[in-house]
């Protein structure tokens, strides 16, 4: 190592080395402390569906131009209603799939007839912008089987979630990456 040409070990240099050792020790201690506190555990952001009020900011405030938040559907909670209040405009003229009857601003919900009188509703994620309009509609009248989740194939996992900052109900929380979703389930 190309050391400085060692001039006489002046008081300053001695002082400096002393300081260096001390600070290195300090840094080491700090490191140890931090390491002991830290775990090989990563955090990711997720929406607590029971705190979400579907204000729509997930659609507008994500750092991604297409939000990482999407609506998901817990089918086993769904009533398979003909008049799905998550799918249809509050007072639909007809129970048909025309855009004019739909609630979703981007037509991201697919309605499929299964058997009288049941219909299946699925989310087309490529269209969903995560505004949560259907979430409110479903929760207001129905079983609340539609809810918002952060999709981790899209989420950049920012150190500070830009949506979480403006979430009016503080529904966006850190969860361990090992269990990255907070799903509504039939039997909690």
């Amino acid at each position: 190592m190309n050391h400085p040409p060692s001039e006489t070990l002046s008081r300053r240099r001695f002082l400096k080395d002393g300081l260096w050792t001390v600070s290195l020790a300090a840094a080491g201690a700090a490191a140890a402390a931090l390491a002991s506190r830290s775990r090989a555990k990563e955090w990711v952001w997720q929406i607590d569906p029971y705190k979400c009020i579907g204000c729509g900011r997930c659609a507008t405030h994500c750092v991604l131009s297409e939000s990482a938040v999407k609506c998901v559907h817990a089918f086993e909670m769904c009533g398979y209603c003909d008049l799905c209040t998550g799918y249809f405009h509050p007072d639909p003229k007809a129970l048909q799939t025309g855009a004019e009857h739909q609630l979703c601003p981007t037509g991201a919900i697919r309605r499929r007839f299964i058997e009288e009188p049941y219909f299946e509703f699925t989310i087309d994620e490529s269209r969903c912008i995560g505004c949560g309009k259907c979430v409110v509609g479903c929760a207001a009248f129905g079983n609340g089987s539609l809810f918002l989740q952060i999709r981790h194939d899209r989420c950049q996992n920012c150190n500070e979630c830009a949506i979480g900052r403006v979430c009016p109900s503080g529904a966006i929380v850190r969860v361990p990456a090992s269990a990255p979703y907070l799903l509504k389930v039939r039997n909690p």
């Binding site: 209040t85 509609g137 207001a140």
Partner: protein, 345 residues
Amino acid sequence: MRQRSYKQAAKVEGGLIAVLLALTAFGAGFLAYWFVDRRFIRQDVPQAFRYSMEELTAIEPFLLIYRQIRPPIETGLQTAVALDVDSEGAVWAAGDQKILRFAADGRKDTEISLSSKPTAVKAADGVLYVALTDRIEIYSSSGQRVSAWAPVRTALLTSIAVGPEDVFAADALNKVIHRFDKQGNSRGLLGAKDSQRGIEGFVVPSPYFDVLIGRDGLLRATNPGRQRVEAYTFDGHLEWHWGIPSVKLEGFSGCCNPIALAQLPDGTFVTGEKGLVRVKVYDDQGRLLGVVAGPQQLGWKGPIRVCETPEECGSRGLDVAADGQGRIYVLEQVRNTILIFEKNE
């Protein structure tokens, strides 16, 4: 690569630096401000992304033909499920693992504790019919168990109606109405899908399914998934039905309403809706006669709830009952209180 001296034209530098720094400071400041949270205050979400029910909750005052006559009865139950009013005007409320009796002055005077969670209660024949998920038990009004019927296999009995010699129970799980005799022996099913009898069948997406026996001797049952009330003869002929799906007052709102039904002494019907919570009075042909209580009166806070635990957010609706004087009792399951309404003079 070759290098060059950086210091030249020292005179201009000062000014330039000043300008640049000012620029940065300003720019950074401005952008920072741009991001300062005037959070929540600024309505920064396009209306198209919002589901607003507020305008639907307003009700013309002249339509409110009922008024609350005394402070609500606090049942003190964690999850109140059902209520009924007996011939003496006392209120029976079922929930948790008990049944409470509130005297006419609203004071709790009897408490019956049950083996499991009740799902429906009906005071008739001077006794109390109680549904416990899949079976019916009968209690004397003093609280002794008189008899317990054999359970129905995999059922969720959410309502009981008692006739001269029949007992009917609405089964939300199998979407049919069970018919028993007074000893609890099954006398068949009503309302199952049956094309040649023109019965489309019940649609019950959530555990709310109500039956009663009308003063005209016909059975009335809610069909929430079809937003209507249906009238059956005891042997299961669908006579007629009424009710239309609509958020407007005359209709039943949302996917699955009405969820509760009661009949007034004058033969008109009281209906209860969840979601956009409303209690309304209809005549036997489904003409809206007036509103008992709307979202405001029932303490509706908003279309969606926020809970610490999932359980709090479990679907909460209401149940209705009426007494001999035409008073209407509403059990709302969010605060588990009983509201009592009387018609305005």
